[in-house]
């Protein structure tokens, strides 16, 4: 068994083989591998006796269940109206030029993927940035890059 198959096997042991185990299993895979590969979706389908199309359908519905390869850290900058009015555009530009990527891309060292997100519910403290599961409110361009550098140091 490959590492992915072992991971999924363990997740299914934990969450069960019912259809309602699909979401936690997919979330578990994303937590470890940052995205759902074809291999992972097939393994999940096999373990839960679902069709692969069914698993892909569910994954494609949720923004946070990515089906494209992602970096070790995923940066999401809120793009919704409050954060927009508080200057998210400048922050995105700063991150883009710092990491030398466009939004949606992964840095060459595979440490970061830069994405935008819909409202994260921090309108009172925008602009807001999310790295993996951690929220960073009221950021400036400088602060964003500082935080990203700290993550870079922690990431092997």
């Amino acid at each position: 068994m490959t590492n992915t198959e072992v991971l999924i096997h363990d997740l299914v042991e934990k969450h069960g083989k019912n259809r309602n185990a699909l979401m936690p299993v997919l979330q578990g895979v994303v937590a470890c591998e940052k995205f759902l590969s074809e291999e992972a979706m097939v393994a999940v389908a096999r373990e839960l006796d679902l069709s692969a199309a069914d698993v892909y359908g569910t994954a494609s519905f949720y923004t946070f269940l990515d089906t494209k390869p992602r970096g070790k850290n995923i940066i999401r900058v809120c793009k919704t109206i409050s954060c927009h009015m508080q200057g998210k555009e400048a922050i995105i530009k700063a991150i883009e030029s710092h990491l030398m990527v466009k939004t949606g891309e992964t840095s060459p060292d595979k440490k970061f993927t830069l994405l935008t997100a819909n409202c994260l519910g921090w309108c009172h403290k925008g602009p807001v940035m999310l790295i993996n599961d951690e929220v960073f409110p009221s950021i400036t361009s400088e602060k964003a890059i500082e935080i990203i550098e700290e993550f870079a140091k922690k990431t092997i």
Binding site: E38, R46, A52, Y56, G57, F61
Partner: protein
């Protein structure tokens, strides 16, 4: 158990219906037609197209009548001003996302969205056209089923069909919101995924988003080619459904008219797949008895039982994908369609002095999976592609119209000979339980010398629309050769629709099943409900077609496959005996393990 009755008014008319009835069904009882698109009698309720909205007094919003149950004192209006405006807007919104190229569409004239649009007579479009990449959204990878996402209105009938009726789920809802599409795993071509080609999705698609890969032009070209000798074979289930597409009532048999039309279209010989259905019984029946002998007399533990039928190519491909461990349980017999092609281009071509390379075999099938089957690499045992083109019942109806033939005025004609004679046992191949019944009629008589112990040869326990049927026959007074079967209770099971087949396969896989022989047909109701049959389909329509099949059987003078004089003749002249050398070469095949994922 007594059911609660609910009183309500629809369009000011009072009605009492059972609790739980939808507004849509209650309105139907009063003959008020409410338009629908996502709703289908064979499927669960989705309520996503919103075309069936009605006004319920006191409710703030319009209600989807298919998904709203009646309640006591409810007052419904199905055609108020508010309803009419909303419904028009809903249809126009669907059209704004639909590639409206009706004149070029394969479903032209058979499209439920087109029908609604024609009822409402929209003038200018009030919404902008949202279809992007209209020419890039076609998937024609499959030899059976084509998809055109630019025509899809996302009603999800296909998704529900593939899941609920077939338990395959090759199609699913992908993405969300305005990016939502109906697609396959990672949007792979249909030919590369788990699709069995059954075509049930086509039967239920309300638009031209799903349709058969059609070969009408290829067949016309063959007919017009003076160097080609074009032979046509017709499946059992086509003769009880073709009329539906040509203005004739459901359940009316049109065998003689169909033969006449095919001759008028210019086919050189009009022959019958029913002939090879009888032949299949000889081969498959012998295969069953051989496997039983190996198991009981030789105590051979490697012999695979239960034997499973292999006539339905959708079912065969399902098994190759889903239950590779049971693949050797499938009968090695080719389907009647393919047996016909292999014999036509060898034995028959020689007999009528035609070179096989100049012969074109066309088959008329109630099926889309047959198109895939004839393209399988194993199906070239004559040295050529055994069956060149497969047309659905629907395609044949279109070609008959194109030829300007007034179908209802045709006189009945008979099939050509040889390979045209058939028995009642062959005709019933067209409906669930039929192959089993035909096999039992012959096998029992081979073993005992007596007819099966059922009134008029009608083996009722394997008939009907129950999802999985079981039956058993106690074998008594065997002939000397078959002594080892004396007292054996022959146990059989029959399933139709792949969801039912899956249930049955799970029992077999668990080792708890004690069946000797299993018949599976991939489509609900068997071939009469096939993916190539006239649209629409429903339980009632399938029942009427099945009744017609049994009527055709009763009308035949010979009703047992082994008594078909042409079958006897072909064995005498060419094949020698069932499972003989020639049979193995031409009439049997093998299967491939395919990936489920």
């Amino acid at each position: 158990m007594s059911k609660y009755m609910v009183n309500l008014k629809i369009n000011n008319t009072a009605i009492q219906v059972e609790e739980g009835t939808s507004i849509l069904d209650a309105a139907k009882l009063l003959n008020f037609k409410i338009p629908t698109l996502c709703n289908h009698p064979d499927l669960s309720v989705a309520g996503n197209c919103r075309v069936c909205v009605v006004e319920v007094k006191g409710a703030r919003l319009l209600a989807a009548s298919c998904a709203t149950p009646v309640s006591e004192g409810m007052e419904v209006n199905t055609n108020s001003e508010k309803v009419r405006i909303a419904r028009k807007h809903i249809i126009e919104l669907l059209l704004s996302e639909h590639n409206v190229d009706c004149t070029k569409c394969f479903k032209n004239g058979h499209c439920e969205l087109q029908e609604l649009a024609s009822e409402y007579r929209f003038g200018d479009h009030i919404f902008i056209d949202l279809v992007k990449d209209r020419d890039k959204l076609r998937d024609i990878s499959s030899p059976s089923i084509s998809r055109d996402a630019s025509k899809c209105i996302r009603c999800q009938r296909c998704v529900r069909t593939c899941d609920e009726l077939q338990s395959v789920s090759a199609l699913a809802v992908i993405n969300k919101g305005d990016h939502q599409t109906i697609s396959t795993f990672l949007n792979k071509p249909l030919n590369d995924v788990v699709c069995t080609n059954c075509g049930q999705c086509i039967n239920r698609c309300p638009t031209g988003a799903l349709y058969e890969r059609n070969y009408m032009e290829e067949v016309w070209n063959a007919i017009y080619d003076p160097n080609k000798f074009v032979v046509v074979e017709t499946a059992p289930a086509t003769r009880v459904a073709l009329g539906e597409d040509l203005g004739i009532d459901t359940g009316k048999r049109v065998t003689g008219k169909m033969v006449s039309a095919l001759r008028k279209m210019g086919f050189n010989k009009v022959l019958d797949t029913d002939f090879t259905a009888d032949l299949t019984i000889m081969e498959e029946g012998t295969e069953l008895l051989t496997r039983l002998k190996r198991a009981i007399v030789d105590k051979d533990e490697t012999v695979k039982l239960p034997l499973m039928t292999s006539c339905s190519p959708g079912w065969v491909k399902f098994q190759e994908h889903m239950y590779p461990e049971l693949i050797d349980n499938l009968s090695s017999c080719k389907s009647p369609q393919q047996m016909f092609g292999a014999l036509a281009k060898t034995y028959y071509a020689d007999k009528i002095n035609i070179k096989a390379e100049n012969m074109v075999v066309v088959s008329i099938m109630p099926c889309t999976a047959k198109k895939f089957e004839c393209n399988r690499s194993e199906m070239r045992d004559s040295g050529f592609k055994d069956v060149d083109y497969v047309l659905t019942t629907r395609e044949l109806a279109m070609m008959i119209k194109q030829a300007g033939i007034e179908f209802d005025k045709l006189e009945d004609e008979s099939y050509d000979s040889i390979l045209g004679e058939s028995t009642g046992a062959a005709v019933i191949f067209g409906t669930t339980g039929g192959v089993m019944e035909a096999a039992l009629r012959t096998a029992y008589e081979i073993i005992t010398g007596h007819e099966v112990p059922f009134t008029n040869l009608n083996i009722q326990p394997v008939r009907g629309m129950e999802g999985v049927k079981e039956a058993s026959i106690k074998i008594k007074n065997t002939l000397p050769d078959w002594n080892f079967l004396e007292g054996v209770e022959l146990k059989v099971a029959v399933a139709h629709g792949l969801a039912n087949a899956k249930q049955l396969m799970e029992v077999v896989k668990s080792g708890k099943a004690t069946y000797h022989f299993i018949e599976v047909m991939g489509c609900p109701g068997g071939c009469i409900g096939g993916g190539g049959q006239p649209i629409p389909t429903s339980a009632e329509i399938r029942k009427r077609r099945a009744e017609a099949i049994y009527a055709e059987d009763m009308g035949k003078t010979i009703r047992k496959s082994h008594e078909n004089p042409e079958v006897v003749e072909v064995y005498k002249e060419y094949l020698t005996n069932p499972l003989g050398h020639k049979s193995h070469e031409l009439l049997h095949t093998h299967y491939k393990v395919r990936k489920r994922y």
